[in-house]
C-alpha cells in the first residue's frame, strides 16, 4: 500500500537467489515442525488437494453409475457409500478448510503486516488435528465406508445403518476442532496484530471475509461437534437422545445439525467472496465500489446466516410457523450476497480490465454464484421447496455455489497468489484454457440437474426411471470434462514450481501489503513492521470520480 506504483511487466531477469520461507531450512522435520504460517498453509494445500481428488474420484463413480437408469455399476449400498463419502470429504475435508486454511493462513498475516498468526503453535496443531480427524475418516473409508449421507440423519445413523458411522463422526468431530482453532487464531490475529495505521476500514476485503468466516467457525462448529458426539454415544452405548421409541425426537437432531451446517455453507462461500473482491479490484485496477458495504455484507451474511437453518426442514415435520420464520429470514440473508454481486460488477465500471486467468475465474464465480444463489431463493420459498426438496434441484443449487462459486474462487485465488506462494509464474495460456474447460464442463454437469430436479428425480438415488436418462448422460459427460479441467492446473502448477519463470514481487501491480514482500516472502514476512498510510485498493492516487 505504501508503494502503489504499477509494477512493470514481469521482469525477464531472474531475481537473485535469496533466503525465503521455502529455502530457509530443509528436511521433512523443518516442515512437520514448522510454525511459519506460510509453510503450514502449504501443508494444508497438499492435504486438501489430496482430499479434493479423492472426493472427485467418488463423484466420477457416482456419475458413472448414473449413466444408465438401472443400478448396474455398483450395488445400492456401495452407491450410498459413494455419495456419503463424496459429500463428507468434499465438505469437511476439502471445501471448509480450503481457502481459509491455505490462502487465509498464508495471506492474513502478510496482509495485516504481521510476522505470523497470533498463535503459531496452535496453527500447527490445527493442521495435526485436521490430519488426525482425516485419518479416522480415511480409516472408515478404507474399512468399508459409511452410508448415512453427509447429513447423518437419525434414526438411520444411530439405529439402522450398519456401516462405520462412529469412526466417520469422530473424524469430523476431531476435524471440527481444527476449524475452531483456525477461526480463533484468525480472530485474535486480526484484532491484535494489525500493523500501525492499518485501521479496520483499511483492511483488505479478503481479511474482512475471513473475519466473518472465523466468527462462524467459532460459533457454529462446537454445535456440530456435540451433535456428532450425541450420535456416537447413542449408537455406541444405546443412549436415547433422539430415539423415537423413548419419546425422543429425530427432528431435534436436524435442528442441531443445520444450526451448524447452514452457517457452514457460508464458511465455504465467504472466503471465496473475499478472494473475488481482491481479484476484481486488481484486474480492474480500481478501488472497490462501496468498500464498507462489501465489508459489512460479510459480517451480515455471517450473522444472519445463523438464523435460517430451518429452511432445510420445511417438509420434515417442523411446525409450519417455524418454517415461515425461517423462510423469511432466508430471504434476508440473500440481500448482503446481492449487495456484493452488484458492487463487484460496479467495480468494473470504467476500470482497466485485464483478462488474466484469476479474473476469468472471478467472472465465473460471479455468474455461477448468482445462478446458484438465485436458485437458493426458490428453495427458500416454502411452496416451491416442497416440490424440489431432496431432488436434483438441490444438488444443482449447491454445486452451483460450491463448485461453480467457491471452487472457482479458490482456483482464482491459487492462480493469483501462486507467484507469491511459489515464486514462479504459471503458464498463462494453459491456465486460461483450463479455466474455460472448467467453466464449460461445470455447466454441462450441473445445469441439466435443475431440470431433473424439477421433473422430480430424487437425490441419493442409485437407480432412476428411464425417462430421466438423457439429462443424466449430459451430466456425466460434463463431469468428465470437468475432471480434465481440474487435472490441468494440478499438472501445470506443479510443473511451474520447477520450470516456471521466476516471479517478481508484484506481478499484477496490486496494492496490498502482501505484494510489498519479495516472492516468495522471507520467513518473517517483513524485516520491519510496515506502517500503513493509504486507503485500501489505492490504485489511482488523487483522482476520484463520483458516480450516481
Amino acid at each position: 500500500m505504501s508503494s502503489a506504483a504499477i509494477a512493470p511487466l514481469p521482469s525477464e531477469h531472474p531475481v537473485e537467489p535469496r533466503v525465503n520461507y521455502l529455502n530457509a531450512t530443509y528436511g521433512v522435520k523443518s516442515w512437520l515442525l514448522t510454525r511459519d504460517h506460510k509453510r503450514i498453509a502449504l501443508l494444508y494445500l497438499a492435504s486438501i488437494t489430496f482430499f479434493f481428488f479423492l472426493g472427485g474420484l467418488f463423484a466420477l463413480l457416482i456419475r458413472l453409475e448414473l449413466l444408465t437408469p438401472a443400478g448396474d455399476l455398483v450395488q445400492s449400498q456401495t452407491y450410498n457409500k459413494l455419495f456419503t463419502m463424496h459429500g463428507v470429504i468434499m465438505v469437511f475435508f476439502f471445501l471448509i478448510p480450503s481457502i481459509p486454511a491455505v490462502l487465509g493462513n498464508f495471506l492474513i498475516p502478510m496482509m495485516i503486516g504481521a510476522k505470523d498468526l497470533a498463535f503459531p503453535r496452535l496453527n500447527l496443531l490445527s493442521w495435526y488435528i485436521y490430519m488426525v480427524g482425516a485419518t479416522f475418516t480415511l480409516w472408515a473409508v478404507v474399512h468399508g465406508g459409511v452410508d448415512t449421507g453427509w447429513t447423518f440423519y437419525t434414526p438411520y445413523s444411530t439405529a439402522s445403518s450398519n456401516t462405520h458411522v462412529v469412526a466417520t463422526a469422530v473424524g469430523i468431530f476431531i476435524t471440527g476442532f481444527s476449524s475452531i482453532l483456525t477461526g480463533l487464531n484468525f480472530i485474535v490475529t486480526i484484532h491484535t496484530m494489525r500493523a500501525p495505521g492499518l485501521t479496520w476500514f483499511r483492511l483488505p476485503l479478503f481479511v474482512w471475509s475471513h473475519y466473518a468466516t472465523s466468527l462462524i467457525f467459532v460459533l457454529a462448529t462446537p454445535v456440530i461437534a456435540v451433535t456428532l458426539l450425541m450420535v456416537a454415544v447413542e449408537r455406541l452405548f444405546h443412549f436415547g437422545i433422539f430415539d423415537p421409541r423413548l419419546g425422543g425426537d429425530p427432528i431435534l437432531f436436524q435442528h442441531l445439525f443445520w444450526f451448524y451446517s447452514h452457517p457452514a455453507v457460508y464458511i465455504m462461500v465467504l472466503p471465496a467472496m473475499g478472494v473475488v473482491s481482491e481479484l476484481v479490484t486488481t484486474f480492474s485496477r480500481k478501488n472497490i465500489f462501496g468498500y464498507k458495504f462489501v465489508a459489512f455484507a460479510s459480517i451480515g451474511i455471517a450473522v444472519l446466516g445463523f438464523l435460517v437453518w430451518g429452511h432445510h426442514m420445511f417438509v420434515s415435520g417442523q411446525s409450519v410457523y417455524a418454517g415461515m420464520i425461517f423462510s423469511l429470514l432466508s430471504f434476508l440473508v440473500a440481500i448482503p450476497s446481492a449487495v456484493k454481486v452488484f458492487n463487484w460488477t460496479a467495480t468494473m465500471y470504467k476500470g482497466s480490465i485485464s483478462y488474466r486467468t484469476p479474473m476469468l475465474y472471478a467472472f465465473g464465480f460471479i455468474g455461477l454464484f448468482t445462478i446458484g444463489g438465485l436458485t437458493g431463493l426458490f428453495l427458500a420459498t416454502l411452496g416451491v421447496d416442497v416440490h424440489v426438496h431432496d431432488t436434483y434441484f438441490i444438488v444443482a443449487h449447491f454445486h452451483y455455489i460450491m463448485v461453480g462459486g467457491a471452487i472457482m474462487g479458490y482456483l482464482g485465488g491459487i492462480h493469483y497468489w501462486w507467484p507469491k506462494i511459489s515464486g514462479k509464474l504459471y503458464p498463462e495460456a494453459w491456465a486460461r484454457f483450463a479455466a474455460l474447460v472448467v467453466f464449460l464442463g461445470f455447466n454441462l454437469t450441473f445445469f441439466p440437474q435443475f431440470i431433473l430436479g424439477y421433473l422430480g428425480m430424487p437425490r441419493r438415488y442409485h437407480a432412476y426411471p428411464p425417462e430421466f436418462q438423457v439429462l443424466n448422460v449430459m451430466s456425466t459427460a460434463g463431469a468428465s470434462i470437468l475432471g480434465v479441467g481440474y487435472l490441468m492446473p494440478m499438472v501445470y502448477l506443479v510443473w511451474s514450481m520447477r520450470y516456471g519463470k521466476a516471479a517478481p514481487a508484484n506481478p499484477w501491480g496490486s496494492t496490498g501489503l502482501e505484494w510489498d514482500t519479495p516472492s516468495p516472502p522471507p520467513t518473517e514476512n517483513f524485516p520491519v513492521t510496515p506502517v500503513v498510510t493509504d486507503e485500501p485498493y489505492h490504485y489511482s492516487p488523487g483522482e476520484v470520480e463520483v458516480v450516481g
Partner: protein
C-alpha cells in the same frame, strides 16, 4: 488495558454470596412453588454465574472487547435455543381438520 488487581476481600465476599445462594437454591427446591421452582432455580443459577464471571473472571474489569465476546457467546446460545423452540412450541398450532 492495564491489569487490574482485585483485592481478595472482593473474592471472599463473592465466595460467601455463592455459598449462600447454593444453600438457598437447594433449600427452596424442597418447597412447592409450582412453575416458580424452575424460575427461581434458574434465576439463582444465573446470578451465581454472573458473579463468577464478573469477579472471578474479571469481566467487570476487562476491556470492552472481552465483554462483547462474552455477551456474543450468550446471545448465540439464545439464538440456538429460541429458534429451535420456535418449532417445538408452535407444533400444535395449526388446527388439524377432521
Amino acid at each position: 488495558m492495564a491489569q487490574h488487581v482485585v483485592p481478595p476481600k472482593v473474592y471472599f465476599a463473592v465466595f460467601t454470596a455463592l455459598i449462600v445462594l447454593t444453600a438457598t437454591t437447594t433449600a427452596i427446591s424442597f418447597l412447592n412453588l409450582g412453575p416458580w421452582n424452575t424460575v427461581v432455580a434458574l434465576g439463582i443459577a444465573f446470578v451465581k454465574a454472573t458473579l463468577v464471571a464478573l469477579f472471578f473472571m474479571h469481566v467487570k474489569y476487562s476491556p470492552r472487547l472481552t465483554q462483547i465476546v462474552v455477551a456474543g457467546g450468550l446471545f448465540w446460545l439464545a439464538i440456538l435455543i429460541a429458534f429451535t423452540l420456535s418449532d417445538f412450541m408452535t407444533r400444535g398450532w395449526l388446527p388439524i381438520s377432521r
